[in-house]
Symmetry: C4
Subunit: 445 residues, 4 copies
């Protein structure tokens, strides 16, 4: 086969598209227009060399005999006329994006392949203040780190030879159909990272069929959110105000919006967490504020955005307040921030509709237990709870495998907070990309 | 509302104080004189932009509609006259302290937000010798590190929905009222870090209502300390001298001062610890001493400030000496440095009034158990001890959560030594700042 | 003995070969032609100084008296004539390879002394794409790292005073005699690292007497491999194709080659692993592909070579397919990728001939259990399995001690995949060198 | 007291010796000739300022009032005449050795304060080859590291208020009186680090009253060693030779020397360890040896000094050989390298006189158990062994606390090998310094 029609590089180079694709391997010219779609290694690698010499790439993967055995005789087009080779032909096709990325520039969304990537990009591209507020956790970060490491220490016991050709990940949360047992955990002030803020998240959740938890401190009002995503599903995270009137008013407002499916009362924020990264940014800023009496006042109160927002949270919240909330809403009432089986049992007795096991992403009281550990504790202390209400888990979820572990251990659905904020760095498209990874690659977020 | 009176930057700029505060958001001018005090995000962020354009900061946190919904119509003052914008207007308000800090310069006290910060600052700003003496611990530092890491491995089981609107942290130690279950553990030679030394600590403890343990090797005499803080509460840490006469004399002196509430006999220093950081400074110094015979003598004895001070400590101390101490004082007698339930039981039998579970901050015998572990051992081996005497804990306390853990596990009060010395770097104000953090932010030192 | 014939450096320098070897020690000249072979420290160190002054090296190891006591009087040749010393004589013999190695250059094979070295060399000398494909593992690499660390946490209980003068490491796998209980785990596309690819491995295995597992995605066809190593022993790793006809055809082809001794059905690849290092190379490459519609298509599918190859793997594989495979081959049928005793028990019931406990080198589902742990689980849950079929282990084997541990815990033989690929970087000789280390130094690969 | 005789700096400067010592504190001149000996902080700090201004050092440690209260009125000499101050006076006394140390220069012995220091100094100052041979351990160094870390994980339970004014650390080993339960573990070729090699160790052991184990591969002969330390106590470490005649001869030679008290048969070296640091030096060296046939021969055999020496060790050693050894010596016979209770029990049955629990410092088989763990296993499996023979421990001993732990757990005496070699870097004085630290500072090597 070293014999055949002599073909010039110019002629070969014209067959350079999916609909007319020739390549050269070891001096022989083949027509792969038909074959490239069936190529076990995918069409892209072939099309990359359409109209060019693919010998090097071919030989890295295949024995010399394969091409002849695989293709038909009529797909052999001739032999390369070496005398026509020019400098253009000798160049390799472009293989890497040679454009230099600046360190504080967002890389293309397609190059982000997991939740950690979104966090890394945010750490480099958002303001110091935003990064501090989103990323910080309480004091020594022990709970924050344990949230993730506890998932990492749970091992699968994978079974084999089960037919998994078609799998169904749909579920329902408080009666609402969702495409996947994942929701966005409520997190404050998404506008700090993107002008569309919570609206971007709302649109992404709507298009992907998952539920969004809306923070009491959302940058956008609930009306604006349902306007952005009229077919979306939401729940509302409520900080009970020392002034109960204000909370009652808010509950009525929420309850009038059919897109809202539940209310989550935050129960772990009687005192704001000491988030030191956040405090340091605040302390530095205060040094620049010229009105010293105001500064002094802030000093006493402590620093950080988290603390500033805590003025409207009642440290006097008790189990009696569930009746108060029920009085002002027809929606299912859940508790966010339960960290012990003892309180889960009290919640059962109080007849709440769901529990979000959460330590606030490690942001409130350091050395609080990881929520996946609390989930295990429920199995030991009050297994009947899984029949009586829905149990959700957040804090530390980074991978699809984390979600699967929580579901396998009895959770109804799982929330991600920080990662969703970091994805909002790219607006609606970023949040969709983060959720997408999950659907096409279910257990490997 | 894009219509309204045109306002020049010059006019707007005059409303730049808490009592007359205008800001610009997206071209509209608002009067926030009244509102800034109720701002959920705190007044400082608004006052920072008083008389200026706050659009960027506003939009990071809020939806465009919020301001209109929140403020009254009469608080809308007009629209920015863009033609009046000048370079001064376009400047951002100062946001960071741009002054360069030298590495060996103490940063402003307000930027120190926890005990670790005081340690870091001390490590950079005090003399090599002082740092070595204060920071060093025995040989491989295993006990020193475990002191802290054992606290980190104790997890809270946080309960929720309890009314914690008002909490009361007062306690009593040996009958003395304190505002918080914290005391200063006795530590030698505070003058090395600040000329006011132990007097600074005394004044801070007095003003904050906590007790000060005075070292047998204090830079200041007990008389000087009670003079500095006549309303303070103290206990005295006693090394029993091989010459018992000297100890008796000292006990009489202490007992005559009403500010002294107890005596703590140190029982873990029969042999001085091998603190190698300290020894290395000593070894380097000796190389410069010209009188070689003296140097040789020191060599034999070993190095370090700790060892030099050990000449007046009796390795022959036994349980019989408690009777000796009682004979010379009417004060409650406690033992400092108990590290096992076996000795705690003997202490009960000997009728002492309190135990300070302590491994000398890891400074004496490496791989001695962390005191929080000894505290747990008491619960298993001799739980009745908590009814018979007061139990204190020190060694490794760095966070308010550490204090809470010890108290929750039965301790009467908790001591901090090294951190207090490092805070003394800033004199009385530094020590107050360290204690203050605790009072305003109780569990998050 | 300071007296004797004066010998010039020129004369001494002529006795510089194994068959005529003089050396100088402390001015005395000795003939070591006879002795150097019996030297307890080996002959090389002596020959290095043949015809030269060996005083320094001698004195590092021996007392001055040894040489005189050890050698015969007639081996004393005289004393060095110091007046003849010249600059040439004073030079030390060459002791290190002073040639500078470029960072991306393969060092000489003799300087590679373990499997880690082969990996290190490959990381520096192969293409970015090859390195990513071979070295990558699933998501957070937890399983990949645990594969190795679990071996490291298994301790020997070495026995002493056993006669181990002659040891026999031969074994049989599915009735085939092997010189050592080791095989090459099937791994795809060895041509990426060396043009001889799997043929190099085949020849090395043949010469060393171990079995080679051939990947379904081998760069070379099975015919080419048996041609390369006609006396070799092979097994074939089968991905069952969604199109069963194709698999049947392949089975017939394999079964007709007498060198193939077994078929291993891969059962752990219903969904391809998310190997992110691999994905990142792919994502970068895609950015350079000009045909955007193709690129978009790849994006949806996910990236990496592993995923591209997964199109021909059936996620609908079940236990019924074992009957299908048996129908098309007379060879023993084994399962590759079993990760639980539950499935091992089902495999027993299904009557398969062997199990390869494997988590795909940590490449498929992260936080799958290390196979050595699964091996231990079999002992607890179904110890009878070791009598009914052969059990193999791979994933994480790097040392001879790892092999010994698996064998001691009941494995029939042990597979190495990645290390063999990295050794292929040096072709057949590299693979032989890797295996060789094992035979001469059995427990210390 | 600001009044008094005006004293010039010249006059003050003349009182600058221990027998005539004045110092200046805050402008007042005091005579400390008498007091400096009783100074609680030691005399050195005072003498450093003899004839100079000590205000700064004084004020770091003391309140201003102390000096007046402590000294007699007649010790007050006058006040400093500030007008006489000159530049000489203003200089501080020398406080640090300002001489620059070269990185490969040995620092003064007095600045070495623990065994780690000797190792660090050796790593920088000995030849690459010597460092590799002494410091290397088997393959992944897991056992070597565990040897130390297991000691670090054993916690003391310190008791207090025991009279420890006088303590007695003497002991006997095989009937020989020693001043401390420590011996030098046999290690090969000490001449590599110092020309005096094992003789330096012998003299140091003799002067300090501890026993020296002599390696079969000692640089010096046993005769030379007993000549160096005629009052020393030794035991001999024997590798049983495949040629038993040679071992018999050696045993007779040893047994004729009254300084030798026991024979330790090494039982853990049937195959030499794979010490890769050592091998790498060898591999590099071989590349420079011009005679390629010799090089090739070494290649097959493997590399490293350890392997070269293994030719004279019989892998066929069995329990029967104990009778052989007994036949040729009257000395107590011990086994070195026992690593399991199973073999300890066999040793009891064989009636040997002592066991050295050892894993060869982690140099032979990696993932062998730390000897302190084997010691604990004896307590569980055969506690009676402690009544029947002496049990020694080595491998990983670095601190006095390590020795104490082994003794507290039943060992008769403890061996240090590598550290002693590293101390030999300073000859006899270095070894004495290492041992000295132990005697004066018993538990804090």
């Amino acid at each position: 086969m070293t014999e055949g029609k002599l073909l010039s590089v110019k002629e070969i180079g014209q067959h350079n598209s999916p609909s007319d694709c020739w390549i050269v391997v070891d001096g022989q010219v083949w027509d792969l227009t038909e074959f490239h779609q069936e190529h076990p290694g995918g069409p892209a690698i072939i099309l990359k060399y359409a109209g060019r010499d693919a010998s090097k790439a071919y030989n890295e993967a295949h024995s010399p005999s394969v091409i002849k055995k695989t293709l038909r005789q009529d797909q052999f087009k001739g032999v390369l006329d070496y005398s026509t080779i020019n400098s253009e032909w000798l160049k390799q096709p472009p293989t890497e994006n040679s454009r230099v990325m600046l360190d504080n520039e967002k890389p293309p969304l397609t190059t982000l392949i997991n939740a950690h990537d979104f966090e890394t990009v945010a750490s480099k591209t958002v303001s110091k203040k935003t990064w501090a507020f989103y990323s910080s956790a309480a004091t020594d970060l022990i709970t924050r780190d344990a949230n993730k490491s506890c998932f990492d220490r749970i091992w699968f016991r994978p079974r084999v030879m089960r037919n998994v050709r078609s799998i169904d990940m749909r579920t329902t949360v408080q009666g609402t159909d969702l495409s996947f047992p994942l929701f966005v955990s409520p997190a404050a002030m998404a506008r700090m990272i993107h002008p569309d803020g919570e609206c971007a998240i709302a649109r992404a959740c709507e298009s992907k069929g998952i539920m969004q938890g809306v923070s009491n401190n959302s940058s956008f009002s609930v009306e604006e959110l349902v306007q952005a995503a009229p077919n979306g599903s939401f729940f509302f995270q409520l900080y009970v105000n020392p002034n109960r009137e204000k909370s009652a008013e808010l509950l009525h407002q929420i309850s009038s919006l059919p897109q809202f499916k539940a209310v989550h009362i935050t129960v772990d924020a009687a005192w704001p967490g000491k988030r030191e990264a956040d405090e340091r940014v605040k302390a530095d800023e205060d040094m620049g504020v010229p009105m010293s009496n105001v500064k002094a006042k802030n000093d006493t109160k402590g620093g950080g955005i988290g603390r500033l927002m805590s003025g409207n949270i009642d440290p006097g919240l008790t189990w009696d307040d569930i009746a108060f909330v029920r009085k002002h809403t027809h929606l299912p009432v859940c508790l966010k921030g339960v960290m012990s089986a003892d309180d889960a049992i009290l919640a059962m007795e109080a007849g709440v509709d769901g529990l979000l096991l959460s330590n606030h992403g490690g942001r409130n009281l350091d050395t609080s237990p990881p929520s996946i550990i609390t989930l295990l504790e429920l199995h030991r202390r009050c297994p009947e709870i899984f029949d009586k209400m829905e149990i959700y888990v957040d804090s530390g979820i980074r991978r699809g495998t984390d979600i699967l572990k929580a579901i396998a251990l009895g959770a109804t659905a799982v929330g991600m907070g920080r990662s969703m904020l970091f994805a909002t760095n790219y607006g609606q498209e970023g949040v969709e990309h983060l959720i997408d990874s999950k659907f096409t690659l279910p257990f490997f977020l």
